[in-house]
């Protein structure tokens, strides 16, 4: 009996001395003795509504909002300076003079359309305006009679001409595309002695459309102005040799496009964003011991008249060159349907699309470094009917959720 008791104690004697396990791995294995569990976390990444008016304001290109809320791109001003073609030494004058064509070459640097360049070039503009500013330095009232503006090719440094007249670009029916430089409803534009004037918004969609198309196609073209000047009003006037009629034209390009089926690209710059910047040991621990995969679920409520084809590529760390062709790039494509639109292409009801992306261990580690290079290619897709307008209140709501699959335990 006593032998049995001593045997009992001996069999259960504590053999180990000291507190630590022989290796850190043994200690970690001890903690892994719990039951094998695989479970999932759903974590909010971004839940935000992007209002197009606010987004476009931050794009580094001139943006304006028209009275009906349509967003418009405003490239640089094109200026003309006309020396008034008569010199009048303080006498009574009332005369009409036909001016030689005023013209100004327009190149791509003057048409800064930012990220919308390709889209505006490939689509047909439905809304575009010209803002006009005039300045008269002479002590004589001036009326602009039959002033018109159009696009004319430049050949050999001179305006292309036909029968002595500028060869204005024509529409599909052969009619020159010309815009009257006058307040809508008026026949002349009057400027008083040493006065300024303006026309705020002169409809000019066909003119601006052909201007953009020809400039971005690499053609050498100019905006040209023709017409007559009525100088004087039967009173004493003075026009000195240096007096000028200063005219500046501001194209206002409404984002009101009719796109072809294939849509139009919007070029966005490569983004270099901060990665999770995990300690390499922590990153290795996550990927080797805990993490199974990471998924990203995007729910997009698109209240914009255009659909979107969004191609993304990201690569861990800083990358020069094309991210989409960089070694190890993680690629994904998402399609977002256009919102429902009315007869003139304005969004009336948002559409919802859901897409997901699952990153395995090898891909998710791309986000563990200090930086992540992200490339985004967006293609605007036409709505039903092809015509779409983007208003400042249009918005896209994005709800992004990360789904993280982990496993613990199951050791020993």
């Amino acid at each position: 009996m006593r032998r049995n008791l001593l045997l009992f104690i001996g069999l259960n004697a504590v053999g180990a001395t000291g507190c630590d396990f022989d290796t850190l791995a043994e200690a970690e294995d001890q903690l892994r003795r719990g039951p094998l569990r695989e479970y999932e976390f759903a974590l909010p990444v971004v839940q935000d509504t992007f209002v197009l008016g606010d987004v476009f304001d931050s794009l580094g290109v001139g943006i304006d909002t028209l009275p009906d809320g349509l967003l418009a791109v405003v490239p640089d001003t094109v200026s003309f300076a006309l020396f008034i073609p008569v010199v009048i030494p303080a006498i009574v004058v009332d005369t009409v003079v036909t001016i030689a064509p005023l013209w100004q070459t327009v190149d791509s640097a003057m048409l800064n359309l930012g990220d919308f360049t390709d889209a505006l070039a490939s689509g047909t503009l439905n809304t575009a305006l010209l803002g006009l500013n005039f300045s008269n330095t002479a002590d004589a009232p001036i009326e602009l009679v039959n002033f018109q503006i159009g696009v004319v090719p430049v050949v050999g440094g001179s305006l292309d001409s036909v029968a002595g007249q500028p060869a204005f670009v024509t529409d599909g029916g052969g009619t020159p595309i010309l815009i009257d430089l006058v307040d809508p409803g008026d026949t002349v534009f009057a400027l008083g002695r040493m006065q300024t004037g303006k026309v705020d918004s002169l409809p000019a969609a066909s003119l601006v459309d052909v201007l953009i198309d020809r400039v971005l196609a690499g053609d050498t073209i100019a905006l040209a102005v023709v017409g007559d000047i009525h100088v004087g009003d039967g009173t004493v006037v003075t026009v000195n040799a240096g007096d000028i009629l200063d005219l500046s034209v501001v194209p206002i390009v409404g984002i009101d496009l009719t796109l072809v089926v294939g849509g139009a690209a919007i070029t966005l710059p490569t983004l270099l964003e901060s990665g999770l910047d995990l300690d390499p040991e922590i990153a290795a621990d996550l990927t080797n011991n805990v993490l199974d995969s990471v998924g990203l679920v995007l729910v997009v409520d698109n209240g914009v008249a255009f659909g979107l084809q969004v191609e993304t590529a990201f690569v861990g760390d800083s990358v020069t060159g094309d991210v989409f062709t960089a070694p190890g790039a993680v690629l994904d494509t998402m399609l977002v349907s256009a919102a429902a639109v009315d007869a003139i292409g304005r969004a009336t009801a948002a559409t919802r699309d859901t897409t997901g992306l699952v990153l395995d261990n090898a891909n998710v580690t791309q986000t563990f470094g200090s930086f992540v290079t992200i490339g985004v290619r967006i293609r605007l897709l036409p709505p039903v009917g092809g015509r779409g307008r983007i208003h400042d209140s249009d918005n896209i709501r994005i709800a992004a959720t990360a789904r993280v699959w982990l496993h613990v335990g199951g050791g020993q």
């Binding site: 008791l5 396990f21 043994e26 903690l31 003795r33 909010p44 839940q47 982990l406």
Partner: protein, 422 residues
């Protein structure tokens, strides 16, 4: 598990009937004084010395502590990885928390001096002075669930009932017993009534508790946290009576049949409370509701405890003990004890504990103890002990491996006593 089977086999191999029988004259069983027959408790027992049949003093110290999930090997591993802890270690450790219970810790310790002895053979009195500490911590399963089961099935995690509390006290007690019997006949029952009380002066107190409405919600679209942690604590002082006072009462009824060797006992002890004064209240609140985890993380990082009030008062109920014990001589030298201590669900939450013990007296004054303890928190554990109980000397060394054997144990207990009798 193999050790449990081995222990049961040894009990079987020792043979002899386990039913009570007449204690033979001249046996070790017949020479053991009544006061030494009470099974040694590794947990609180205010009457452990007052029934000793000699005048003298006893210095004793003991304590126990345990939890419901992590064993000694787990603790060793956590300590070893703590310098370089990583995500997998944290998640794996949380995965060890017992499912359905959350994470519970409890413990107590005591050290002190007893002086007393019998008067006229029927009355005993004892005086004691000691220091005592209690502790309890709970992280409910709901609070742990986020890190141990994900948030797809359940997005909200309540922190209600999350708390940790500790109380240390200085105590001065007086206990007495009255013995009656034999009642009815020469072989009749001997009854012992015990009663006493302890004056208690708190030395240190801290209570950290989550507001019952505290909750964290994380879904795929939103992260919100409304968490308030309340702290009530004393200043860090020692050996003073300025923190308040309290009183605890203890009661005992014991029935013994010396001829047959059977004994039954019921004890209600530590009934009382402590009134604390001069406490400081602190609060930490975090309230965030965001669709961005980064913003939620920043809010948590910025949270800090803020003193909100001083000179606060609180009344703490002491963890009451209700214990039933039965003992019987199985043969000439083997006493078998079984005791059940009922659970307490109060500020210091204690589980139901059942002890099954054997005391072997091959020599009557050298008790050898081996037993099992089944705790509603730690699980099945083992107790061992040895003593020397002579006319002039008392020595006891007892220990317990709670919820498992040594490195598999989820807790431990130990007790040492040294007494000198005149």
């Amino acid at each position: 598990m193999s050790r449990v089977v081995l222990a049961a086999a040894i009990f079987a191999l020792t043979g002899s009937s386990l039913t009570a029988q007449a204690v033979p004259e001249g046996s070790q069983a017949s020479s053991v004084a009544s006061g030494y027959r009470r099974p040694i408790q590794l947990r609180m027992d205010p009457f452990r010395h007052v029934l000793i049949p000699h005048w003298g003093f006893v210095i004793s110290a003991g304590g126990f502590g345990g939890n419901n999930s992590l064993n000694v090997n787990d603790a060793r591993a956590l300590i070893q990885v703590s310098d370089d802890i990583n995500s997998s270690n944290v998640l794996n450790a949380m995965n060890l928390v017992r499912e359905g219970s959350g994470l519970e810790f409890d413990g107590a310790a005591q050290a002190g001096l007893y002086l007393g002895g019998p008067i006229a053979g029927v009355f005993s009195i004892g005086l004691s002075g000691m220091g005592r500490a209690y502790g309890f911590a709970l992280i409910p399963e709901q609070a742990v669930g986020f890190l141990s089961s994900g948030n797809v099935a359940n997005e909200s995690f309540s922190l209600a009932n999350t708390r940790a509390v500790t109380l240390t006290t200085a105590e001065a007690g007086a206990h007495a017993t009255l013995r009656f019997g034999p009642l009815g006949s020469e072989d009749g029952v001997h009854a012992t009534l015990g009663f006493g009380g302890r004056m208690i002066w708190p030395q240190y107190y801290v209570n950290v508790a989550a507001d019952p409405a505290s909750q964290v919600t994380v879904s795929g679209s939103n992260a919100s946290a409304n968490v308030t942690m309340n702290v009530l604590r004393s200043e860090d002082v020692a050996l003073n009576t300025s923190l308040g006072s309290g009183f605890a009462a203890d009661f005992l009824v014991r029935m013994e049949w010396p001829t047959s060797g059977l004994a039954l006992e019921a004890m209600v002890a530590n009934v009382g409370s402590v009134n604390l004064t001069g406490l400081t209240a602190e609060v930490m609140s975090v309230s965030v509701n965001t669709a961005s985890l980064n913003e939620a993380k920043d809010s948590l990082d910025a949270a800090a405890f803020v003193d909100v009030a001083t000179d606060q008062e609180a009344t703490i109920k002491l963890p009451r003990i209700i214990r039933f014990t039965g003992s019987s001589w199985a043969n000439r030298f083997l006493q078998i004890d079984i005791s059940a201590t009922l659970a307490v669900h109060d500020e210091f939450d204690t589980p139901t504990i059942v002890n099954l013990g054997t005391t072997w007296r091959f020599i009557s004054w050298i008790p050898l103890h081996a037993g099992l303890e089944m705790s509603g928190r730690e699980g099945l554990g083992f107790t061992l002990g040895i003593g020397v109980e002579t006319r002039n000397i008392l020595f006891r060394l007892y220990g317990g491996s709670l919820g498992g054997w040594v490195y598999q144990a989820k807790g431990g207990a130990a007790r040492v006593e040294l007494g000198v009798f005149f």
